[in-house]
């Protein structure tokens, strides 16, 4: 009879303990990272503005005030404290509601991206062989095509096949989400390649766990950290992508406000209302900066390679 090695449960408990210690250290590192905390704080403020938008303004973001059409109000007049745009719409209201769109597009697109990338990366990393080869060539292919032109072509196709109104929240989220899964897939595959050789994975296989259970219960939880970091930073990327698309006229369509299409509106009327161009960009910039600082802090805290 062979000497009894450590049981699966013991191995798992040891692993658990190590992970909980790592989590504790991660929090301490993150807290030390004041800029990351400041970023998180700023992000919470921006999110509050978007979530409670109807409570923070009594103006309708799409209501056109004919009185100020063509002669937009400068900031601070008649209760419009950021002024109005060329159609007489209140800019503060549009900014809050535009933030709703920009943030939700980013969050949902990243969710899709993470799910897709995780499935593809997990399957490739776990099964290896020709499946891995095929999945990784697919990843390389999509990584080689420049993202913004490809997104524009797809949104252009959607716009041309029905009406421009088909470029709504859902289609934009789907298009962006389905074209940005590649970095996540690579990360997950890399983690899986090393994790599947670990003892606890072999142990799980030895007691007869099926692939599904090993992937979901043993491998995936250990591969979460890099995914979280990547997803955080990708929220910032998607905010920029969505606003670039909307700015170029192939994203969220007016009258629905998004930070991007507010900017393209403002650019056309920059000579009569330059202030309208300042706020939406400032919002994009602040949000993206906050997320980047937060993501950087998360990476320092979670990524073992940097430690």
């Amino acid at each position: 009879m062979p000497a009894p090695g450590p049981g699966v449960s013991q191995l798992q408990a040891a692993q658990e303990a190590e992970f909980s210690r790592e989590r504790h250290q991660a929090w301490r590192k993150f807290r030390r990272h004041y800029l990351a905390l400041a970023g998180a704080g700023a992000l919470i403020l921006i999110a509050i503005g978007a979530i409670f938008a109807p409570l923070l303004t009594h103006f309708d973001p799409n209501a056109i005030d004919a009185q100020w059409q063509g002669t937009p109000l400068a900031p601070g007049q008649f209760g419009h404290w950021l002024g109005t745009d060329n159609l007489g719409r209140d800019l503060w209201a549009r900014m809050l509601f535009g933030g709703r769109i920009s943030l939700t597009v980013a969050i949902f697109a990243v969710l899709i991206e993470v799910v897709l990338g995780t499935i593809i990366g997990a399957v490739a990393g776990y099964y290896g062989g020709w499946i891995d080869w095929l999945m990784m060539r697919l990843t390389d292919t999509f990584l080689s095509i420049p993202l913004l032109p490809l997104l524009l072509v797809l949104t252009g196709i959607v716009a041309a096949s029905s009406t421009k109104a088909a470029l709504n929240f859902t289609s934009i989220v789907l298009i962006i989400g389905m074209l940005s899964w590649m970095p996540v897939a690579r990360l997950v595959r890399a983690s899986f390649l090393s994790l599947r050789e670990k003892e606890f994975c072999e142990a799980a296989r030895a007691i007869g766990s099926n692939d599904n259970r090993i992937i979901m219960k043993h491998l995936l939880p250990n591969a979460i950290a890099p995914i979280v970091v990547q997803a955080t930073l990708d929220v910032a990327n998607v905010i920029i992508l969505e606003s670039a698309l909307s700015f170029l006229g192939f994203g969220i369509q007016p009258p629905t406000a998004s930070w991007g299409n507010m900017l393209s509106d403002a650019q056309e009327n920059v000579s009569i209302a330059w202030w309208a161009a300042v706020y939406p960009g400032l919002c994009i910039f602040a949000t993206v900066l906050a997320i980047n600082y937060m993501g950087d802090g998360l990476r320092d805290a979670l990524d073992p390679n940097v430690r």
């Binding site: 060539r137 697919l138 390389d140 292919t141 999509f142 080689s144 095509i145 420049p146 913004l148 032109p149 490809l150 524009l152 072509v153 797809l154 252009g156 196709i157 041309a160 096949s161 910032a236 920029i240 606003s243 670039a244 700015f247 170029l248 192939f250 900017l263 403002a266 650019q267 920059v270 000579s271 330059w274 161009a277 300042v278 939406p280 960009g281 400032l282 994009i284 910039f285 993206v288 900066l289 980047n292 600082y293 950087d296």
Partner: protein
């Protein structure tokens, strides 16, 4: 090394084919396909469209069309640009000088500034200067280019910057052109330079951020190596060590990243070129999209993607060539 090169070359070919298949499939869903511009013409009847469809071979199965397209593309026949009424190759070639000028200048400017920032930050880590560079990099990375471009336009073109020299009547104007490559009645070197300033500033900001971060990280790593300590122990001067021993090694990864940015020099900058009405390839693509110029879209997308694959390969090979420690199996 030779075997490795050949193997990588052989791997790149299926990748390029994959790319072209995916792009072809995506563009196949474009309503009207290559005939889209004709569909909006009231003088062209449905019968005409059907005839054109047959003449262009668009009623053949998709895979036959793909193979026909592939054969023509490889031979340099990229189709007819309906928007320019020229072959696609001619339309793209016409835009290349402007794009290469804009992207080349901003790449050069950002490389010089970015490398200087990165080296100085790495030499004095956690100094005030280092914090400045890191902060600058974060701000640059987070800046939406289109907004930065509009703000520059407001400041330098719409409002105009001018100041009066104290105690005199002299006024200095800093108005800069915000659109195009030359004035309609101007031209010449100075005029071209003035038109470059704003778009180059916009493009450089992000690139400086990337280069400085990258150089700082790479330099930091090199500073802690044994050969740097040896050089210091030999009694060499500080900057001599930094430049002769440090920079040479720190630049190796930078060179490979540089190779990865080169497809952009051909492809141009879609957003910046559009905002500044720069007659480059990026803006060509954007107008082609609005005009549904099918062949031009396909030609451009395949060209840029193939360049990405090629320069990825170049970056990989350059790394091995520059750094003899890298072994290929």
């Amino acid at each position: 090394m030779l075997i490795y090169t050949i193997r990588r070359l052989l791997q790149a070919i299926p990748l390029m084919l994959f790319i072209s298949i995916i792009l072809f499939t995506i563009l196949h869903f474009m309503p009207g396909g290559p005939l889209a511009p004709y569909m909006q013409n009231p003088h062209i009847t449905a019968a005409d469209i059907a005839r054109l469809r047959h003449n262009f071979g668009l009623d053949r199965p998709a895979y036959v069309q793909y193979l026909a397209w592939l054969g023509a593309y490889v031979r340099g026949d990229w189709g007819w640009s309906t928007m320019n009424s020229t072959p696609v190759t001619v339309a793209i070639l016409q835009r290349l000088p402007a794009t290469i000028e804009l992207m080349g200048v901003s790449l050069a400017v950002s490389l010089v500034i970015g490398l200087a920032f990165g080296i100085l930050a790495a030499v004095k880590p956690y100094s005030l200067w280092d914090y400045f560079v890191t902060t600058f990099a974060f701000f640059g990375m987070s800046m939406p280019t289109f907004w930065f471009a509009i703000i520059l336009q407001i400041v330098f073109a719409v409002a105009g910057v001018h100041f009066r020299i104290p105690f005199s009547d002299y006024r200095i104007d800093f108005n800069l052109p915000s659109a195009g490559r030359y004035d309609t009645d101007g031209g010449g070197f100075v005029d071209g330079l003035r038109h470059l300033i704003l778009p180059v500033t916009v493009l450089s900001l992000i690139q400086i951020a990337t280069w400085s971060r990258f150089t700082r990280a790479s330099m930091q790593e090199v500073l802690h190596t044994d050969y740097m300590r040896t050089a210091a122990a030999k009694g060499l001067g500080f900057w001599k060590i930094i430049f002769k021993h440090g920079l040479k090694n720190a630049l190796m990864p930078v060179v490979t990243v540089l190779a990865l940015t080169l497809p952009g020099v051909v492809g141009g900058a879609l957003i910046t070129e559009t905002i500044f009405a720069w007659p480059g390839a990026g803006r060509l693509f954007y107008t082609a999209l609005q005009q549904q110029d099918f062949s031009l879209l396909m030609g451009y997308l395949v060209l840029i993607s193939v360049l990405v694959v090629i320069f990825n390969l170049v970056a990989d090979l350059a790394y091995g060539w520059l750094d003899p420690r890298v072994k290929y199996d």
